[in-house]
């Protein structure tokens, strides 16, 4: 199996149809396939162990992904936002690589490596030239399509491996080939080093939905491109949606009547933000997607109809589903287990386990699947009586106070109901008496007075119980998030250090 099949089928079906638009240049499926075959020839000639990309998203990401696939060499998109020493360590782990993008930075950080470096322009031009004569013969290699370094919020980044079989299984299980009409376009603004960036390329090409790339997200640029290209679909992380809405509130209101669907994921979506978006985009279908790098993207989703049903319901249990990540895909199984590995019934919190052909659960260093093929996500959550999955933070984020497990999510949910609080995080703080205790960081809403410590403690005590009452409280201007909207709890903990 080889993911290059995806591009090959689109190019076979309609070689002249436009598949990708970036910086004003329009690429047909035929032209993309030709360039990918040319890239494969260059990659094979370079005799490297990995194909690295250190660049914002552009046509080069698509050509490198499929070119590496045809050549049978793992594609490794790197996070250009990493600090020099962190990036240097990753560059060392993939040498010798065929490296596309920021040549000067690679040479500065990793001067004595055997990397073959090319700028984006050089790579694309060479791929197009070689594509005129390249055979396009597929190589299996180790069967690895992509190697993605996980963000490493707790330890050194792990090299997650996604096999051709994993990614193809995900695409074949979730996308109908050629199902998009010729006027559909997907606005893609996630960075190429994120699993969502890879999934966006594969899904859109298999659906034959034109990809419109926005290399660096900025809300006004997003609104302009969405209107100019008449985008029908878009994927955003919650922070992006919040910034788009702020720009619209500030008066930037282009014609977005073509926007049929917005999918979101990658971080916690504040309830009031999604409620606001549903009102602001009444004709748009919203989909919440939950997935991990190790699962080839989405494993559960809350679809447009479920969003509207939750929005319009008077039943608190149905309304609550606006905060869920929906039901598992038909092609995957999900279980909630306790610390001893016992499967928990509906409504009980535990660790989320997932199994399915798209689930790799494999790292360069080790395989994390159990004997029956289940992958422990390290995410905590529960499933309600109707099968809807709710996330409750990372399993590692649990606060253990005197032997009692406390999920940060339950405390944060209560704090977020306070009208003066814009954002909140609960973390473990050291406690002489309990080992760990609850610390909360709260962000006041502009124009509101922050309630005093006693009022916040009383709120938690009334709604939850005394063990959840915070021992330490800090007030911050903003909580620290990474660029994908993931809360950096390590950074929050540091605020309690002094």
């Amino acid at each position: 199996m080889n993911i290059s099949l995806i591009l090959q089928m689109a190019a076979d079906a309609e070689p002249d149809r436009i598949g990708l638009v970036c910086d004003g240049r329009r690429w047909s499926y035929g032209a993309l396939l030709k360039a990918a075959r040319g890239a494969a020839a260059a990659i094979e000639a370079a005799n490297c162990t990995h194909v690295g990309l250190l660049d914002e998203s552009s046509e080069a990401a698509a050509i490198a992904l499929f070119g590496a696939a045809i050549a049978g060499v793992p594609y490794v998109p790197l996070n250009y936002r990493l600090a020099d020493n962190d990036l240097a360590a990753l560059l060392k782990r993939i040498e010798p690589a065929y490296l596309i993008g920021d040549v000067a930075r690679v040479q500065r950080l990793n001067p004595d490596s055997g990397h073959k470096t090319l700028s984006r322009g050089e790579f694309v031009a060479q791929a197009e030239t070689l594509g005129e004569t390249a055979s396009g013969e597929e190589h299996d290699g180790e069967g690895i399509a992509a190697q993605i370094f996980t963000s490493g919020t707790t330890a050194a980044p792990k090299a997650a491996l996604l096999r051709h079989a994993n990614l193809l299984s995900y695409i074949l299980g979730t996308v109908e080939f050629g199902s998009a009409s010729a006027d559909e376009a997907a606005l893609v603004c996630v960075p190429p080093y994120h699993i969502a960036g890879i999934a966006a390329l594969l899904s859109s090409i298999y659906a034959m939905r034109r990809i419109v790339l926005l290399p660096a997200f900025e809300p006004d640029a997003w609104l302009k491109l969405a209107a100019d290209e008449r985008a029908s679909n878009a994927f955003v992380v919650p922070t992006m949606l919040s910034r788009i809405i702020a720009a619209m509130d500030a008066g930037n209101r282009p014609d977005l009547s073509s926007l049929q669907a917005i999918a979101y994921g990658g971080g916690r979506m504040p309830l009031e933000l999604i409620e606001r978006a549903l009102v602001l985009f009444p004709e748009t279908g919203f989909t919440n997607a939950y997935g991990l790098t190790e699962t080839s993207s989405t494993i559960a989703l809350l679809g447009p109809d479920e969003h509207r049903a939750a929005q319009q319901s008077d039943d608190p249990a149905v309304r609550a589903r606006l905060a869920s990540v929906g039901r598992p895909l038909p092609t995957v199984e999900i279980e909630i287990r306790d610390e001893d590995g016992k499967v928990l019934p509906a409504g009980e919190r535990g660790e989320i386990y997932v199994r399915g052909e798209q689930v790799s659960g494999e790292y360069r260093e080790r395989k994390a699947l159990d004997a029956d093929g289940w992958f422990p996500t390290r995410d905590a959550g529960y499933i309600d009586s109707e099968g809807f999955l709710f996330l409750a933070g990372r399993a590692d984020d649990v606060i253990v106070r005197g032997g009692e497990n406390i999920s940060p999510g339950e405390i944060e949910d209560v704090l977020m109901t306070h009208p003066a609080i814009a954002d909140a995080a609960a973390v473990a703080v050291p406690s002489v008496e309990w080992g760990e205790a609850v610390g909360i960081a709260v962000v006041p809403r502009p124009g509101h007075d922050m309630p005093g410590d006693d009022a916040l403690k009383a709120l938690i005590r009334e709604r939850l119980r005394s063990s959840r009452v915070p021992e330490r409280i800090v007030v911050l201007d903003a909580l620290p998030y990474n660029e994908m909207g993931k809360l950096l709890r390590r950074e929050v903990k540091k605020r309690f250090a002094d």
Partner: protein, 96 residues
């Protein structure tokens, strides 16, 4: 026959990739499919001439065999003379 292997029709342009397999011979247009297509075409059996469509997945009755059509053609797929049928895919909302 194993998952990932590719088969070509000797009667038409049809090509498939095996998604789920067991040890069987897949036919297209009434004739066994092959790894490497010969130069000369075999005539299509009119009983297996409904055609295949690119992107469609074809399964047998007990769902033990699944093939992805990667190139469409004039013949239709069968195993031991029993027609395979296109799999109904429930459309999912796009999540990417």
């Amino acid at each position: 026959m194993k998952a990932g292997s590719k088969l070509k029709s000797v009667t038409c342009d049809t090509e498939v990739m095996v998604i789920r397999a067991s040890d069987v011979v897949v036919e297209c247009g009434g004739a066994p499919m092959v790894d490497v297509r010969p130069d000369a075409r075999v005539a299509i059996n009119p009983s297996f001439a409904e055609g295949t469509k690119i992107g469609k997945r074809y399964v047998n009755a007990d769902d033990t065999i699944e093939l992805l059509c990667t190139k469409g053609g004039a013949g239709s797929l069968s195993i031991a003379g029993v027609a395979l049928h296109p799999k109904d895919a429930k459309p999912l909302p796009s999540s990417d």
